[in-house]
């Protein structure tokens, strides 16, 4: 593997790992937030109104980007491990990054 390609692979690895940690840490909060629906529709609505603050919307946007990045990075790993071709690491990493940005932009434009 060339130095430049190794560098790309290292960044892909780091983004995948850090996004995975962030998503796993976020999940309990996400589940607890959804759990407010157990107290009724009004309690759930109160939480949803709270989530309309700019800082929360920004956090949601970051999480959507992290989710898309982890998804695309994970597909890259599956492709590298299970498909026969090996020379596409950099292209796959670029596609993964592109998909994350695309998902983030679509979310930002619709939210």
């Amino acid at each position: 593997m060339s130095g430049k390609r190794a560098h790309t692979a290292w960044w892909a690895f780091l983004v995948h790992r850090v996004s995975g940690i962030a998503l796993a840490l976020f999940l309990p909060a996400h589940f607890l937030a959804l759990g407010t629906a157990l107290a009724g529709e009004e309690a759930f609505d109160t939480f949803l109104r709270w989530s309309e603050q700019p800082a929360v919307v920004f956090s949601e946007w970051v999480l959507v980007m992290l989710l898309a990045a982890h998804l695309a990075g994970g597909l890259r790993i599956l492709a590298l491990e299970f498909l026969p071709w090996r020379g596409w690491q950099k292209t796959l990493a670029a596609l993964a990054a592109g998909f994350a940005v695309f998902a983030g932009l679509v979310f930002a434009l619709t939210r």
């Binding site: 790992r17 995975g20 940690i21 998503l23 796993a24 999940l27 309990p28 996400h30 589940f31 607890l32 959804l34 759990g35 407010t36 629906a37 157990l38 107290a39 009724g40 529709e41 009004e42 759930f44 609505d45 949803l48 989530s51 309309e52 959507v64 989710l67 898309a68 982890h70 998804l71 994970g74 597909l75 790993i77 599956l78 491990e81 299970f82 998902a103 679509v106 979310f107 619709t110 939210r111």
Partner: protein
């Protein structure tokens, strides 16, 4: 852990990843569809309450994420926190069980109700 045990965890990580790829794509599409014009409890619960399909989808999503996240944390605990395999495994199991418990509670909240 034995080499066979490590290989089994590696395979579970990949199998859950394949399922999660589908779940996350559906989830991302649902998020982007649902946030148009703002979120409301009525809109979300109107889609999920009483729906066996959404309930089963999210329950499977929770199990896959819990197994995937648990195994991922085990690897990170060994590589970055320098925990021994047994301690990392115990931590991973605790994280996975907590995610399943909280996740199924959330699924019950949106798919079944109080």
């Amino acid at each position: 852990m034995s080499a066979r045990g490590e290989a089994r965890l590696w395979l579970w990580q990949r199998v859950t990843a394949a399922f999660l790829a589908f779940f996350v794509l559906v989830h991302l599409a649902t998020i982007i569809y649902a946030v148009r014009g703002g979120l409301s409890a009525a809109q979300i619960l109107g889609r999920t309450r009483g729906s066996v399909t959404w309930g089963a989808f999210y329950a499977a999503f929770v199990f896959a994420a819990a197994v995937h996240g648990g195994i991922g944390f085990r690897t990170i605990a060994i590589e970055w926190l320098r925990l021994r395999s047994r301690a990392a495994g115990a931590l991973a199991l605790a994280i996975a069980l907590a995610l399943v418990a909280l996740g199924l509670r959330a699924v019950a909240a949106v798919a079944i109700g109080p």
